[in-house]
Symmetry: C2
Subunit: 469 residues, 2 copies
C-alpha cells in the first residue's frame, strides 16, 4: 500500500485500480502504449481499442485479485488469450484492465487412464499437444490459429476436425472461473457425465468473457490415431464438392477433417504456401484410424468423389505430405489476406444444416460474383460451416458498405435455411444485431443471465449482447 | 370467463388459476384426487405430494397460457413427463399446477439428410424410435425407463449407450421452452454447431424444470447400425469385470453398451426375467457396426475378458437373444424391487473417473456388506457411473437412516475420487445437500441464474437448489 502512495494521485476509477494492483504485480502490470495497443485488437478488421493497462497474472488467485479490485471500482475486465479472435472480442471499447493469460500455461495434470487433463487457460493448443505427445493422447479441437484454450472455450471454438471429435463444447469437462465479484468457482468435474445442478460449464463456454474469466480447463483427450491419411480432390464446381461432402457424412464415414476451398482460395494458397494445386474447387480430407480403416475410408470417399466428377484424388499417409497440406490450409486466412496486401479480413461464419449447404453456398457465390468484392471461400463443410474472407479496407466506406451488405444477405440466407450467423467465431462486436435476429425471443433470458452474474457490467462490456432498447 | 363465474368462489391463488384455466381446458384440466395423486410422485421412494390440478396442454401456446396464468397468481408450475424420474422431481411439494405433457407427442419433422428431428417434448423415447424406424435412424439415449424426451432433457438423462453416443446433453441441438413469465423462447437451432450467444440450451438441459417448461426438442439422430451384437461374460469378482471395462475403454474399442451387474443383481434378474445366468458379477455388452466391425470388437473384448479371468463369453447377433438380454437389463430396477416385495427403491447414482471406478466399487461393496441393507449394483461402467438399488421401507426409520448413511459415505467416496453425486438422475429432492457439497463455490452463481430467470420461484419450486442459509 505504501508503494502505491508514491504514484501520482489516481485521477479515475481505472487509475485507482492500477494504483491498487501495481504494488502486487510490479512489472507484470504495464501501461506502456505499445503493450496496450497490442492488447486492443485481434486478428480481424475491428478497430483497435487499447485497455488502460495490461496485467499478467500467474495464478487463479491473482486473477481473482484483479477482478475483485476492478469490481470495487466498477472498471472493465477484458480477458486476453492469444489475440486470435475474429470479432473484436478483446477490444477494450470501454477501457479497463486486460488480463493477459500468457503466463498461465501449465499442464497441471494428465490422466491417460481417464483420457483427460487439466490446464491453465493461457496454454495454447499447440503448446498443449506438444506436452501431451509422449502420452499418446491429443486435444483435437483445432481452429487453425494457435489459440489459447481459454480463448477457445470463451468463443466456443471448433475448426477443422469438429466433424469427428466435436467442438470445444463437447471436449470440456469442467472449468475454474473467476466470476464478476471475484469469487472463484469450479464447474463440472472429472466424471464423464454429471446431472448435478445447472450446467454452468456450458453457460461459460461461448460466453466471450462476459460472465467471468476462465482460468483452468479440464479437457477430454483422445488417443493419437495409429494411422493418419490425408487426401485432396478437385472438382469442376463447388456443387460437386459439396455433394461429395454430404454423401460422405450421410454414409457415416468417420472422416476426421473434410474441408472445402473454392478456386479463389486455392489460388491464394498456391501463391502463399508455394503449392501447385489445380486452381479449382477442392476438398482437403484427413482420415484417422487403423491402417486398414484409413485405407477403407479413403477408398469409400474416393468412390463418392469420382461419382461426383472429382478428379486427381490423391492420398498419402506420409507425415511430411500431410503437414505441408494442412499447413497450407491453416494458413488460408493469411493467404487470403495476401491476395490484396494492405486489406484486412472480414470473415463470415454462417453454419447451416448440411442438407442446405449446397444451395446456400451456390447462392452466396452468385451474390459475391455480382459485387466488386474479393472473397475466397473456405469451410468446415462437414458441419455445414463455411467462411468467406471478404478483403476490406476499413477506411474505404464504400468498400465496407458493400462488404456489410453482402454479409447481411449471407446471414439472412443462413437464418432462412435454419442456420446460425456464427458457427465458431462468436458474436463479439460484429454480429450483435444478428444475435438479436437469430435469438430475439431468447434475448431477454440472455440479458437476465448477464445481469444476474455481472450486475455492474464489468466483464468484457459491450460484447455479444446488443445494446438494449 | 362466464363459465368460471359459475364455479364456487376461488379461495386461494391456485383456485383462481384453476378457475381461469378451466374455461379453456375443460376436461383437459383435472382436480380429481386419483389424477392428482398419480402426478404427485415418480418411481422413487420419495413421498407423494399431489398438485392442486393437472392440465393436459396440446401446444406450446397452451403451455404458455398455463404458465402466464400461474405467474400472474404466483402459483407453482410442475412439468410432468412420464413420471419415471428417481429423485422426486415431480412431487408438488408446494402444490400448484402439474403440466402433463402426454398429449404433446408429435414427431414434427425429421430430416434424414441432416440426421436430426424435432419432437414435442411429451413423446417417449420408445414412441420416437418406433416412428423413426422406417428412416433407418434412431435416437440412442436410453435411460432404461420409457421416459419422455422432455423429461430426459430436464434431468440430463443418459443410460446404457452413452459410452458410445453421448448423453442427452450431446444429442440436443435446440429447444422450445416456456419461461417463467410465459415467454416462448427458441434456443439453439438446426445447425450442427453455433457460437451465437449464451448456451441456453445447455442451461436448460438438466435444469429439472426449475427454469422453464421444455415443449419441443430438436435432436441429433444416428444411423441404425448394419449389425448389432450382444454379449455376456461372467467374472469371479467385480474387480475383474471392472478391469475389463477399463481396458476396453482405454483401448478405444467403440462398444455401444458395457454394463456391470453384480451377483445380487444377476440373481434378481434371473428371478424376475426367468433367466438362468450364472449368479456371478457379469458384463452385458452391445456392439454396433458393420458385420466385420462387430465381430472384431467382440473378439477384442473377449480377449480382454479372458485375460481378466472372465468365463462363458457368449455373443450373438440374433435379435431375439439381444432383446431378451436387454429387456432383463432394462427391468433391473423392477427386478431389484421384487427381491423384497413391499420395499421401495432408493437408487444411488455416483459417477467417478474411470480410473477410480474399481476402488470406489470395491470400497462400496465392502461398506454395504457391513450393513443390513440389500443393495444390488448395476452400472453404466463405461462412463464410470453405477447405481446401488437400496431396498428401503420409508416407514422404517432405522432402515432409512441406515440407507441414508450408506449413501452419504458413497457420495463422500465419489467426491473424494473427483466424481459427482449424480451421473444421470439429477438432484431433485434427494441430493440437494450433496449439490452444495459438490459445487459449493458455484452455488451462488446457480442461485443467481434461478433468481434471474424465475424471480418469483414458481418453476418446480423446492427442487435442485438447497434452501438458502
Amino acid at each position: 500500500m505504501s508503494k502505491s502512495n508514491l504514484l501520482s494521485a489516481p485521477a479515475s476509477p481505472v487509475g485507482e485500480v492500477i494504483a491498487a494492483l501495481t504494488p502486487h504485480f510490479g512489472e507484470r502490470l504495464s501501461t506502456a502504449p505499445a503493450m496496450r495497443e497490442q492488447h486492443g485488437h485481434d486478428e480481424s478488421w475491428h478497430e483497435t481499442a487499447p485497455p488502460d493497462a495490461v496485467v499478467f497474472p500467474q495464478s487463479t488467485e491473482e486473477v481473482a485479485r484483479i477482478v475483485r479490485t476492478c469490481a470495487a471500482h466498477r472498471v472493465p475486465v477484458i480477458p486476453f488469450g492469444a489475440g486470435t479472435s475474429l470479432e473484436g472480442h478483446v477490444a477494450a471499447i470501454h477501457g479497463g484492465i486486460a488480463i493477459d493469460m500468457s503466463r498461465m500455461t501449465a499442464l497441471k495434470r494428465v490422466s491417460p487412464e481417464d483420457l483427460d487433463c487439466t490446464v491453465e487457460a493461457g496454454i495454447t493448443r499447440k503448446q498443449l499437444n506438444a506436452q501431451l505427445r509422449d502420452t499418446g493422447l491429443f486435444m483435437p479441437v483445432d481452429p487453425g490459429a494457435d489459440a489459447s484454450i481459454g480463448g477457445m472455450v470463451s468463443t466456443r471454438a471448433s475448426g477443422t476436425n469438429a466433424v469427428r471429435y466435436g467442438t470445444i463444447r463437447e471436449n470440456v469437462l469442467g472449468l475454474t472461473v473467476v466470476l464478476a465479484d471475484g469469487t472463484v468457482a469450479h464447474t463440472g468435474g472429472r466424471a464423464r457425465k454429471s446431472a448435478a445442478g445447472y450446467d454452468l460449464t456450458h453457460l461459460l463456454i461461448g460466453a466471450e468473457g462476459t460472465l467471468g474469466v476462465v482460468t483452468e480447463v479440464t479437457l477430454r483427450l483422445h488417443g493419437i490415431p495409429e494411422e493418419i491419411g490425408a487426401a485432396t480432390c478437385s472438382f469442376a464446381g463447388v456443387d460437386q464438392a459439396v455433394a461429395t461432402v454430404i454423401e460422405t457424412i450421410q454414409s457415416g464415414i468417420p472422416v476426421a477433417r473434410i474441408e472445402l476451398l473454392d478456386d479463389v482460395m486455392v489460388r491464394a494458397c498456391n501463391a502463399y504456401s508455394g503449392l501447385s494445386l489445380p486452381e479449382q474447387p477442392m476438398l482437403f480430407l484427413e482420415f484417422h484410424g487403423t491402417a486398414a480403416g484409413v485405407a477403407e475410408q479413403s477408398d469409400r470417399v474416393a468412390a463418392l468423389a469420382e461419382a461426383n466428377g472429382g478428379s486427381g484424388f490423391a492420398w498419402s499417409t506420409r507425415p511430411e505430405d500431410r503437414s505441408r497440406l494442412w499447413e497450407a490450409r491453416h494458413n488460408a486466412y493469411y493467404a487470403a489476406l495476401a491476395l490484396e496486401p494492405g486489406k484486412k479480413g472480414f470473415t463470415t461464419d454462417v453454419c447451416v444444416p448440411v442438407s442446405r449447404l449446397a444451395d446456400v453456398i451456390a447462392a452466396t457465390r452468385a451474390d459475391i460474383a455480382a459485387t466488386s468484392l474479393t472473397a475466397p471461400l473456405v469451410g468446415h463443410v462437414g458441419d455445414g460451416n463455411f467462411h468467406l474472407i471478404l478483403l476490406v479496407d476499413p477506411e474505404d466506406d464504400a468498400n465496407m458498405a458493400e462488404a456489410m451488405a453482402a454479409h447481411d444477405r449471407l446471414v439472412t440466407r443462413a437464418l432462412d435455411a435454419g442456420g446460425t450467423c456464427t458457427g465458431e467465431h462468436g458474436i463479439g462486436l460484429g454480429k450483435q444485431h444478428y444475435l438479436a435476429r437469430e435469438h430475439g425471443d431468447a434475448l431477454g433470458a440472455m440479458r437476465a443471465v448477464k445481469q444476474a452474474l455481472d450486475p455492474h457490467d464489468i466483464m468484457n462490456p459491450g460484447k455479444m449482447l446488443p445494446p438494449a432498447g
